[in-house]
């Protein structure tokens, strides 16, 4: 049980430090235009990486399972301009359906 509480304490400290690092070190300085050109594209880069690893990674292994079906359903919903909550629900239902039959 102690391992759980040590883990929680360690995660609190590291998470706070990681989130504080940029704001504290950079402060209110305006970044040069070249840095802004890169930072403006961080969102699509990070979101893409999160989507693919959340869908196709199982620890360090790449796999295709029911989550991929969920993502496919989400892609259809996004293409049809569905609201975000509908997209999420459609993905959950699609993934659950594939898991139920496989």
């Amino acid at each position: 049980m102690t391992a759980v509480w040590i883990t929680i304490a360690g995660l609190v400290v590291t998470t706070v430090a990681i989130k504080a690092a940029g704001p504290v070190l950079i402060g209110g300085r305006e970044l040069p235009a070249a840095a802004n050109a890169v930072i403006g594209l961080l969102a699509p880069a990070l979101l893409t990486a999160l989507i693919l690893t959340d869908t196709f990674a199982r620890d360090q292994e790449l796999t295709i399972d029911a989550r991929a079906a969920g993502l496919g359903c989400a892609a259809v919903a996004v293409a049809l301009r569905a609201p975000l909550l509908v997209t999420v629900l459609v993905a959950a239902v699609g993934s659950a359906a594939v898991r139920a039959v496989s």
């Binding site: 391992a3 759980v4 040590i6 883990t7 929680i8 360690g10 995660l11 609190v12 590291t14 998470t15 706070v16 990681i18 989130k19 504080a20 690092a21 940029g22 704001p23 209110g28 300085r29 970044l31 070249a34 050109a37 890169v38 930072i39 403006g40 594209l41 961080l42 969102a43 699509p44 880069a45 990070l46 979101l47 893409t48 990486a49 999160l50 989507i51 693919l52 959340d54 196709f56 990674a57 360090q60 292994e61 989550r67 969920g70 993502l71 359903c73 989400a74 996004v78 609201p83 975000l84 909550l85 997209t87 999420v88 993905a91 959950a92 239902v93 699609g94 993934s95 659950a96 898991r99």
Partner: protein, 219 residues
């Protein structure tokens, strides 16, 4: 409502939608964590850590019999992307170092993506406003998950593990109109997938940030 508070409204409105998803994912965290950690620890973790991927990752390590240092390191690596996000948000935050550090805690994936502007600017009020409803709903979801654990069974069977990727895909769709977004998406995806088998989980996502240097190309 005063003009100052008015600035937070668009963020709060979007944050309620994000929060509904956070509630469901928090619920699945509570369900998954309860057998490993008991009923109190998952809730304490959600209250004080408030970082879904790190919480899931650390719990998975403990559930597999791993020790605390491994669980902490796993969580920290899964959080590494917040370094990039914090750098992007920094110029927009206010006050001295302590207040900036505190405002930086509001950086969570959905709020950050909503607040990031294409040209490198950042909307502080959207970030803070969108995180405001997500935090209590994340904690409430965890409480519900701990309580419902035995009833809902395996959250994956209900498709809950497809929620985060779908959620991020919806956010990504809003980014695709930006100049050079498509090549960045392709490169970031290639980096993340290529590094997944060789690096611990979390680092491939941080290193996919490198794809954003395409922003320097033929400006």
């Amino acid at each position: 409502m005063s003009a100052r508070l008015e600035a937070y409204r668009p963020g709060i409105r979007a944050g309620v939608g994000f929060g509904a998803a956070a509630f469901v994912v928090g619920l699945s965290f509570g369900v998954v964590a309860q057998p490993t950690m008991g009923s109190v620890a998952p809730i304490v973790m959600s209250v004080f850590v408030f970082a879904g991927s790190a919480q899931f990752g650390a719990t998975a390590v403990l559930a597999a019999g791993g020790d605390a240092p491994t669980a902490i390191a796993t969580g920290a690596m899964l959080n590494a992307r917040f370094l990039s996000m914090g750098v992007a948000a920094a110029p927009a935050l206010r006050g001295g170092p302590l207040r900036r550090a505190a405002e930086g805690q509001a950086v969570v994936d959905a709020s950050w993506a909503l607040a990031a502007r294409g040209e490198g600017g950042f909307d502080r009020e959207k970030l803070l406003g969108a995180t405001l409803p997500q935090y209590p709903l994340w904690v409430a979801g965890t409480v519900a998950g701990v309580l419902l654990g035995g009833v809902v069974g395996d959250p994956a069977e209900l498709g809950f593990d497809a929620i985060f990727p779908a959620f991020f895909l919806g956010l990504l769709a809003a980014e695709l109109g930006r100049p050079r977004a498509l090549p960045v998406v392709v490169l970031a995806g290639a980096i993340a997938l290529a590094l997944t088998p060789v690096l611990p989980a979390g680092l491939p996502v941080l290193l996919a940030s490198v794809a954003a240097v395409l922003g320097l190309w033929r400006r």
